[in-house]
């Protein structure tokens, strides 16, 4: 029975979960836990709080499932619940970091023997230093694969603002990468 459930279609699992089937909901939890936890970790920058937020999002989803009409994709609906949970948690716990403040953090000097994975680690680290709005837009676009329009709807911001946030965030990351690693080291890795 359980094995059969694991291979069930998402629509069937959602429908069964909406009728109170915890086993079906457990399969959905298994499928989405990584995405929700990753998203929450990137938005909140704290693994412990991220796990709580992911858990809370799933409990909210369970409670709201009977009202889910399938007008959007189940994943988008779930991401929206998770985003709202993380944002209200962030607003409750600490004030938002301003861009100028985030940009003012001193950076480490060039590092020798840089490798490709180090570029990735540096970028990940710098993403966590971005202001909340920028980090959220980047995460939703690149990690969750949402369109500008979907992000604008979700974050209640104009589409132009969302696009500008993403562009400025990438520009900040690019500048930081050169500052921290140095162009000569980067060149070696990128063209090796």
């Amino acid at each position: 029975m359980f094995e059969h459930m694991e291979s069930a279609s998402e629509a069937a699992l959602v429908s069964r979960s909406a009728r109170g089937d915890e086993q079906a909901f457990g399969v959905l939890v298994e499928r989405y836990k990584g995405m929700l936890y990753s998203m929450a970790t990137r938005l909140m920058k704290d693994r412990g709080r991220a796990e709580d937020a992911a858990q809370e999002s799933l409990i909210k989803a369970w409670a709201a499932l009977p009202a889910f009409k399938g007008e959007s994709k189940f994943s988008s609906w779930l991401y929206r619940i998770c985003y709202n949970t993380c944002i209200s948690e962030l607003r409750r716990k600490r004030p938002e970091v301003e861009l100028d403040e985030a940009m003012g953090v001193p950076v480490a000097g060039p590092v020798q023997e840089f490798r490709n994975r180090d570029i990735q680690a540096t970028i990940q680290e710098e993403v966590s230093r971005l202001p909340d709005d920028y980090r959220a837009a980047l995460t939703l676009y690149h990690f969750n694969g949402l369109s500008y329009e979907e992000i604008a709807k979700l974050t209640h911001r104009p589409m132009g603002t969302v696009k500008a946030h993403i562009h400025r965030a990438r520009a900040v990351l690019k500048t930081r990468l050169v500052e921290r690693v140095g162009w000569d080291n980067l060149k070696e890795v990128m063209w090796q």
Partner: protein, 156 residues
Amino acid sequence: MNCEEVRRSVQDYVTRELEPENRRLFDAHLVECAECQRELALVTAVVSTLDHQPVLEPSPGFRGKVLAALPRQRSLVLSPWWSLALAPLLAGLVWLFRVPLERGLAGLLGQFGGSRLAVPVISLQGAGIVAAAVVVLGLLVTTGGAVFCWQTYLRD
């Protein structure tokens, strides 16, 4: 396209959002400009890293914790439409207890100086109407309450 225009378009070029004509102009400029090639390499590294962020896994037992924390009441709460099934039952009860109900109503009217008013006799049809009215009212209240709760819960 000059260097400044290329710098402005480089992100859209990497994410394939640049229109074909501008893409062609971008490529033409790139062939002869080392600085813009460097800019493109940097933006490509950033976008590629962002596109391939690893999926992180929560602690073992996450699924069990979520399932254990689910509110159990939901499976016990029936849809408000089930209350319609209560209408015949309620009508039956009103009909069965019509005599004490009529007496009670007469006493109530007498207390408030309404002795001149005739106490209505509860017929089978009357009992049905009373029961249906109670059920419809209950249905409206429970449906409204449920919608309000879901919306409030989701908004937060």
